[in-house]
Amino acid sequence: MDAGLRAGSAFLALPSPGRTVARATLRMTGVMVAIFVIFAPLSSLVIWSFTRTWHWPHPFPQAMGFFYWRKVLEGDLFRALQSGFLIAVIVTVLTLLLTVPLAYLLARYPVPFKAAILLVFLLPHAFPQLPVFVNATTLLYRAHLAASLSGVVLIHMVGALVYAVWTMTAVFRSIPESLEEAAWNLGASRLKTFFTVALPLATPGLVASTLLVFLYSFDEFTGTLLVGSPFVLTLPVYMYRTSVGYELQVASIAALLLMLPGIALLVVLERYLKSEYLSMFGRI
């Protein structure tokens, strides 16, 4: 402690230019450590995607090239991408169709047990994924929905609904009621007011919900694997299969491709999801 105090006061006693340089160096080091911690794991993926052969214990690949990129782009990956994309779109559309009116009701009307209803949507995420999805798979088998697109869509919606309901309820709640009252006052029916006032003002929330739900569905793995196998293929399942088959190059490429929608989501969310909406989160 004593030595630390002495070192600290020695630092503070440095003349001004010396202290600035020291502080700048510390900051640079901190930034570099952060970059390394965040990007080093990803660098492994990037290296693997450009590898042709790489055997342990060599620290670097023996042969590199675009071989596997070519192989992947000519292979099954596109089927997985298309299928996953289609499922994500269907899930998003169905989820929004169901949740937007529900969110409006929850936001504007005195619904009993509002908090309980909102929490019910959260339940699938409250439990470990595997037991939830295994049980769901059994149910879907009995309903003859397993290994089908519809089954996968359903299992995705179970987890996706909460993102849309919670976001849209908060967004509708953040729109001042006087804006809707002004429209009723001038003669607009409640439905017309919903479409001309509430919904346009909720657009940023809609965008955020769409992206959250889409990304959830696009990235969803456990449920898709259990319910969809063997016929329904999405990108995460494809990535899993190829990595299990020791085709790490293919898995790395799939992983890198999977990251792109996520990055796009973060950029768009940062722009659209304003703090006013988030302040309503949890204020049930």
């Binding site: 006087s178 009252e181 429209a183 029916s189 006032v197 003002l201």
Partner: protein
């Protein structure tokens, strides 16, 4: 269009917001509903608009009972305290909204919107129709809200403290504008405010409310100069209250005595306005037409238009306004007997 409400009752759980309110709003007149927070004035306004289902009573527009009608069918127009302009629409679309609902032609809509903008005197601003509400000042936004309400030619214009979000100078100016507009258009207007100066300035009829009940109605002069009870006397103007006891040979206020020839006996409340009293140095004698009270001048504030003196009389702190400053120390407060409002204490 004459508007009448009869026996309006509205309860929120155990709180009674409207307790059997009956009022008449004269056609083409501006009726101001004045009162402290929680007196029920906004509840009354919102029930006129149809936003609030009532627990009892009726609302009549002319001869039509509109109590059961939803807000869309009542043909009223409301100007909100927060303006309630739609931020995702231009000024033009905001004003045109009501007209488009009535399926008017594009040319008709454009003509009426421009007429409304001229009426509220912002038609001259370049490009105002294409601006969003967020790009306008508070005063301009309120004018747009007013235009939006007037353009649909409603039966009743309802105004919910429309100027309280604006700063003092803008408020003063818009006050006169609102009155001018209302007279020009000739529309029955109900104007809710907690600012009594505003109510007195623009209203034809003032309705004073407290605790869900109507305390007094009348012209602004009636309510200001001839308040019917202690609450009304105290609410209007800058008022002072003293407790006293009335008996056959006068009023006793603490240890002091004021001549009194009225009929009340027993504990009374005496109310007079800060501008009705005159401060003089101690030693001025009483005469039949003035009440004279002795007190101690404790504080003096400069308001610009007058000096406000805080005088302690029999334990109460009174406010006396005057053009000339008076020094601290013992003083005499003289109030013309005619300006003393005396009410029996409950």
């Amino acid at each position: 269009m004459d508007v009448r409400v009869e026996g309006l009752v509205k309860r929120y759980g155990r709180v009674t917001a409207l307790d059997g309110v009956s009022l008449a709003f004269p056609a083409a007149g501006l009726t101001a509903i004045l009162g402290p927070s929680g007196c029920g004035k906004t509840t009354l306004l919102r029930s006129l608009a149809g936003f609030m289902p009532l627990d009892g009573g009726r609302i009549l527009f002319g001869v039509e009972d509109v109590t059961a009608l939803p807000p869309q069918a009542r043909n009223t127009a409301m100007v909100f305290q927060q303006y309630a302009l739609w931020p995702h629409m231009t000024v033009f679309d905001n004003i045109a909204y009501g007209l488009r609902l009535r399926k008017l032609s594009g040319a008709e809509v454009r003509a009426r919107v421009e007429k409304a903008l001229d009426l509220v005197e912002i038609g001259r601003i370049a490009g105002v129709t294409q601006r969003r509400p967020g790009e306008l000042s508070g005063g301009q936004q309120q004018r747009v809200a007013l235009a939006r309400a007037l353009v649909v030619e409603p039966r009743v214009l309802l105004m919910d403290e429309p100027l309280s979000n604006l700063d003092a100078k803008v408020r003063q100016r818009l006050r006169a504008e609102v009155r001018r507009l209302q007279k020009a258009v000739g529309i029955t207007t109900v104007y809710v405010t907690h600012d009594q100066e505003e109510a007195l300035a623009i209203a034809d009829t003032v309705v004073l409310m407290d605790g869900g009940r109507v305390v007094q109605t009348g012209t602004p002069q009636d309510v200001y100069f001839r308040p019917e009870n202690a609450f009304a006397a105290e609410f209007l103007g800058v008022s002072n209250q003293l407790s006293g006891t009335a008996d056959a040979d006068g009023l006793s206020v603490g240890t002091q005595h004021v001549s009194y020839s009225g009929p009340l006996r027993g504990p009374v409340t005496i109310v007079f306005k800060a501008t009705d009293a005159i401060l003089a140095d101690s030693g001025v004698a009483a005469d039949g037409r003035h009440a004279v009270l002795r007190g101690m001048l404790e504080e003096r504030l400069f308001l610009g238009s007058a000096y406000r003196h805080y005088v302690r009389v029999e334990g109460e702190s009174l406010m006396i306004d005057g053009a000339e400053p008076v020094d601290h120390g013992p003083v005499t407060v003289r109030v013309p007997m005619a300006r003393l409002q005396i009410y029996a204490s409950p």
